[in-house]
Subunit: 305 residues, 3 copies
């Protein structure tokens, strides 16, 4: 038996994939202030299906944070007063205990700030890292921090942002009602949903519409895999990754002409593509039962001819 | 209760690993015609165990297609008149909707042709991509297209072709009878069999015999992982990969002296080895319960001294 | 119902991560004698939980073997007279049948010796490779052989050694008593425990204490994934891998600034880090339910300021 869907706190939990800060226009380090609010809230996985998400700033994945190698970051984490659990943040760009988790633990209504220096470039996951961290990440508490190299990244026409995570619930996929978290399913690594940007097929015509680009454009995708458990086989249907930075690290030679790149849970990638022909490019985890059965899909539509 | 084995439509479904087209002997692009027939048929997984496969050209993996970067390919897909389902083809070498899937959908008895230009080099999977694509790929509908770089690949003594996929059935491994497809097992990513070239231990002395090479020889392996869900940890027991092109892409520096290379579902690899000593080299997914319990094994026998 | 814990044969099964042979101080090849004893014994997974391990030299992972490219190795394998099963060794550094497994099969009380030449550099797994090899590896029969390149590896302050494997038992995690091996769980790839150095949280303050280093130090980690089935997403919480040799191969360019590196079952990695700030660095498989639910954790504590 399933409970009825709950009232939702927000209309949309899926991060906008085009909501990426501009490239950094500085040639020297700076001190940057970043603030994230942790918040538990009810939203729809798909129409008729609700879940109590945990988020950074009411979206999944959380906001893309963009800094430059050498920057000093003042990281502030707040916890919404209506929360019921402690939260914190571990950024893989941070050197220090728990990647910042120990310094940022916040009870409902609290705020903590800590400082770190971004010493190495790349795209890194951030995530909640309380003791039940797999539950918090599965429920949406992850995002991406981009640490630009000193010379920046090559210019592209579009920068896009996507994140993948598993949802472990007591219901079946697409079963109407409010889905409760299922600890046994998570322990067995057997998710109900596997999602791109936190909702079933959010960035497709079913929900908020595809991202649109023009034929002839280039795009760089920042992709983070929250997991907490599954490896993503990240593939653009109808296209290819021109260049991939494996696991998001910048510093080694990129891989070229890659159809499908592994992105581990707790990792990320930077992957570029370009559009020679019109039509949809579908971003998937090529473990295809997650696409055909568990809601994972995002679409980039190339317009023109 | 299990049904009796069914009458088989073919004696063998396993692709011959030595059936690889010759290297391309051209220094300029050409227009190439490729034709594949989709066909559903009954064959043996192992003696006494039958399954209704879906194939390209009656073999698993489907034929290795070989073209050159810059070539224009006229791709024709037919559907055998006895088929019961629609089929199509998505090639990861294709730019365009569904990698060609939208242009190639064929009902039983139909034929479709579309044209694409091979613009980037590497070894790429092709596979059926109808809505139930995980079911079709699990049942055998995948293969490999090699897009040679303009300068070709280094000469080797042997080129070999292998493919891995999972079989999800209502029976247990080696249980006599006809095995039906099991949708729940596929959704849970819990296969009955994991196979090399579509049958249990096909390329070993149990069935069609190992591939033979001579001590002193070099070999290049084209390996495709259909999945649809599992990552392969591709390893040659008793040998090492001299060079690996991760995920089949050509363009970045190869990895060297690699024991085990990840090949994601919906991906491929190009891996070379050489034979210094006589005896068997066993190709496996080093997730060893798939080898010890689920039928995955292929053998290359080095003869001489 | 669970049986009572059994009497243990040893107080500790976890390999000491600092027990790494010194770098090789030779500029020409040598003949090296290596001897390993296979032994089945009862030890604690965690206090109150016992299991009948299988080991090389009474530890998990087995001893780190260190040779130089070009060396000739006389490999001797013995089997303790109290053993109940045959054992052998497959080293991924060996060219030849079964990586040495065919030449080294030993019944209880027996000894076998074979010779091989280390022809390629890297960090390679060794493991038992009898027909039920997944059971033997899951029970602890794996380790790492380092084949140094001719010019050696860069100097570092610390070299550390860790290994990961799954334990498949009829009990639940942390359930008091003697846990029997569970073949069905292994076939389903659903482990009870996932462990670093063979015991639950062995290299933490819970058991034998963390490894300690000083702020300012560099460290190179040799990490082997026995599996037998799961891929490890190897990550240092609160730090980053400065350089990674993917899958342990030496010869290609290393990856740099890597947060999480895939280490396949039946593979290894060489990964370096350095310590700029005090506090714990926690080594994990970032498939975090294995950390939060199944015992996987090791800690390196950086002291100073
Ligand atoms: Cu949290
Ligand atoms: Cu993390
Ligand atoms: Cu089909
Ligand atoms: Cu595909
Ligand atoms: Cu053994
Ligand atoms: Cu092995
Ligand atoms: Na599972
Ligand atoms: Na569920
Ligand atoms: Na599963
Ligand atoms: Na089955
Ligand atoms: Na399972
Ligand atoms: Na168990
Ligand atoms: Zn545009
Ligand atoms: Zn595709
Ligand atoms: Zn182009
Ligand atoms: Zn030959
Ligand atoms: Zn091996
Ligand atoms: Zn690489
Ligand atoms: Zn050689
Ligand atoms: Zn020190
Ligand atoms: Zn530093």
């Amino acid at each position: 038996h399933m409970n009825d869907p709950q009232m939702t706190d927000v209309d949309r939990i899926a991060a906008d994939p085009t909501d990426v800060p501009d490239p950094i226009d500085r040639s020297s380090p700076a001190t940057v202030n970043v603030e994230l609010e942790t918040r538990e809230l009810v939203a729809e996985v798909e129409p008729g299906v609700t879940y109590t998400y945990m988020t950074f700033d009411n979206q999944v994945p959380g906001p893309l944070i963009r800094v430059r190698k050498g920057d000093t970051v003042n990281m502030t984490v707040t916890s919404h007063e209506d929360n019921t659990m402690p939260h914190n943040i571990d950024l893989h760009a941070v050197r220090g205990p728990g990647g910042g988790a120990e310094a940022s633990m916040v009870a409902p209504g609290e705020t903590e700030t800590f400082q770190f220096k971004a010493t190495y470039p790349g795209a890194f996951i951030y995530h909640c890292a309380v003791p039940n961290l797999d539950y918090h990440i599965a429920s949406g508490m992850y995002g991406l921090i981009l640490v630009e190299p000193e010379d920046g990244l090559p210019e592209v026409d579009h920068e896009l942002y996507f994140g993948q995570n598993e949802l472990y619930t007591t219901g079946d996929v697409s079963q109407d009602g409010h889905h409760d978290f299922d600890m046994d399913a998570m322990t067995a690594e057997e998710p109900t949903y596997v999602l791109m940007n936190g909702e079933s097929r959010a960035i497709t015509e079913n929900r908020y519409g595809p991202v649109t680009v023009d034929v002839g454009d280039t795009a760089r995708v920042y992709f983070v895999n929250g997991g907490p458990n599954l490896t993503s086989s990240f593939h653009p249907i109808g296209c290819v990754w021109d260049e991939v930075h494996p696991q998001g690290g910048i510093g080694g030679p990129p891989h070229r002409n890659i159809q499908t790149t592994p992105v581990m849970p707790g990792s990320a990638t930077i992957a570029t593509m370009h559009f020679e022909v019109p039509g949809p490019v579908k971003l998937v985890d090529h473990a295809l039962s997650r696409v055909a059965r568990k809601g994972l899909l995002a679409v980039v539509e190339a317009e023109g001819d």
